[in-house]
């Protein structure tokens, strides 16, 4: 199994700051915005962005939630093993809010499709945007594109993008792994 570094810790950090600035450009003081990390890995990215917005860009209040899409997936019973659910925590009203979905890798778009259905259980948002750290080009199964992207990469089918976060793995990094 060979692997290639796509982004190292420094590059991840620069990209996170750029994404934070792009969010500020659109969402100003975030008073009507909710950042939603998608379980399982998107929550690390969402937490990190919220931290940068608060500490480095002095945004007073960031509304943050985490959404699990397990029960909304379209591949239930099509897999060998059952899907494991994660915690959903949305303690704010999403009605009329501007939602930003945050996920680490955008691949087929099916998780985002599920997330779009899932979020409707919590109300009717004003607008939903998508932020992805890694956008795998030419691999979409659905017409879904990110509004904010960290890095766009071309990945062939037998390769996998792995995002590591220092909270869970040892370091911040993005690898391209051959399966």
């Amino acid at each position: 199994m060979s692997q290639k570094v796509l982004l190292n810790a420094k590059e991840v950090n620069i990209i996170l700051h750029r994404l934070a600035c792009q969010l500020i450009e659109k969402h100003d003081d975030f008073s009507n915005t909710v950042l939603i990390g998608l379980q399982p890995k998107g929550i690390f990215l969402a937490n990190r962005l919220a931290k940068i917005l608060k500490e480095d860009y002095k945004i007073k209040e960031i509304k943050l939630g985490q959404l699990d899409i397990t029960f909304y997936r379209d591949d239930f019973r099509r897999r060998e093993k059952p899907l494991e659910a994660n915690t959903t925590e949305i303690n704010v009203l999403v009605e009329d809010k501007n939602i930003v979905f945050i996920d680490d890798v955008l691949y087929t778009g099916r998780s985002i499709r599920a997330a779009l259905t899932a979020i409707q259980s919590f109300g009717r948002p004003n607008e939903i945007e998508l932020l992805a750290l890694i956008d795998r080009r030419f691999s979409r199964h659905l017409p879904i594109q990110p509004d904010y992207r960290g890095r766009q990469v071309d990945v062939i089918n037998n390769e996998k993008v792995k995002v590591n976060w220092s909270e869970q793995d040892k370091e911040d990094s993005v690898y391209l792994i051959e399966k």
């Binding site: 239930f76 099509r78 259980s121």
Partner: protein, 309 residues
């Protein structure tokens, strides 16, 4: 991820400790779902479930039906009172006729012990036992344990007394299996005539003095006297039964600690439990009902995920 070790839920007897843990963890997620503004997930859109009730039920039937609908399954209902069973059709024939309409899962309550096991040998669908005679009622035991876990943090090491008509109770047997699997101590308490012989062989304590039992336990699960299953008289009168085995406020006030009172319903107020106890803060009877939907959603979801396309 782990999956259940079984393809049917016929009884707690067939489950292991990991299965129960998996069901509870999944139920935690569904409990969050049923407290959302929109309490429904689309997971089981392509599953059809038949609820076959060959015996009366209100709570269990509603709870299963709600759980199925919250998972977006298609549901058909059947109760024997208005069916061809009265015309002499056999169980296997009835169920096979229903299954030929492309049903994936069967939830069945039946007056005969072992009906679920029998059916599982003859048909090709997942079966959930919703009570078979005086044998087992696995989802009730799961929701009882889930409610104890929710209230006390864990089931392990807790002392649980099951009070009342143990002889005719499927809830008692399933609860004994479920509680012991999770490492709780179990006692049964009731009139000698309503305690099965050799029940101590299951590793449970037997007590005929309610006051002693309540002093010993952390949780008391009160069972209903099942008059409809009694062909002979097991105690002199209802009044005498409630004096000896009914839980009252003054009895609870005198034991010097706060214990949890559970009841699988339906309650006979003034017989096994007085109204002030049933409506007190110590009683978690309505929490049990709410947890019932989440636990049944978890069981149905986990079994459905084993049905291959």
């Amino acid at each position: 991820m782990n999956e259940l070790s079984v393809n049917h839920l016929l009884g707690i007897k067939y489950l292991n400790k990991k299965d129960i843990q998996l069901i509870f963890e999944t139920a935690d997620h569904f409990k969050e779902v049923i407290n959302r503004p929109i309490k429904k997930v689309p997971s089981l859109r392509d599953i059809t479930i038949a609820n076959l009730f060959f015996e009366n039920s209100t709570r269990t039937k509603l709870s299963f039906e709600l759980a199925e609908k919250r998972l977006s399954a298609d549901v058909i209902n059947f109760s024997s009172a208005q069916s061809s069973v009265k015309k002499g059709e056999t169980l296997v024939d009835t169920v096979n006729n229903i299954l030929s309409m492309k049903v994936d899962m069967v939830v069945m309550r039946h007056p005969n012990p072992g009906a679920g096991v029998f059916l599982s040998k003859h048909i090709n669908a997942s079966i959930i036992n919703a009570g078979d005679g005086a044998h087992e009622h696995p989802t009730q035991a799961l929701l009882d344990s889930y409610s104890i876990r929710e209230k006390l943090g864990e089931v392990k090491g807790k002392k649980v007394v099951i009070v009342g008509d143990i002889l005719h109770s499927r809830v008692a047997l399933s609860n004994i299996f479920a509680l012991q699997l999770q490492g709780a101590e179990v006692m049964v308490c009731g009139p000698k005539t309503l305690i099965p012989k050799y029940i101590d062989k299951l590793g449970v304590k037997v007590e005929t003095d309610l006051k002693k039992a309540l002093n010993w336990c952390d949780v008391a699960n009160m069972l209903r006297v099942q008059n409809e299953r009694m062909d002979i008289s097991y105690f002199p009168s209802t009044r005498e039964y409630s004096q000896q085995f009914g839980v009252t406020k003054s009895l609870l006030d005198n034991i010097g600690k706060e214990i949890i009172i559970m009841h699988p319903g339906p309650i006979n107020r003034g017989v096994e439990i007085t109204s002030d106890v049933a409506d007190s803060k110590q009683a978690i009877i309505l929490d049990q009902v709410q947890n019932g939907v989440a636990v049944r959603m978890a069981v149905i979801y986990l079994l459905a995920s084993k049905i291959k396309q």
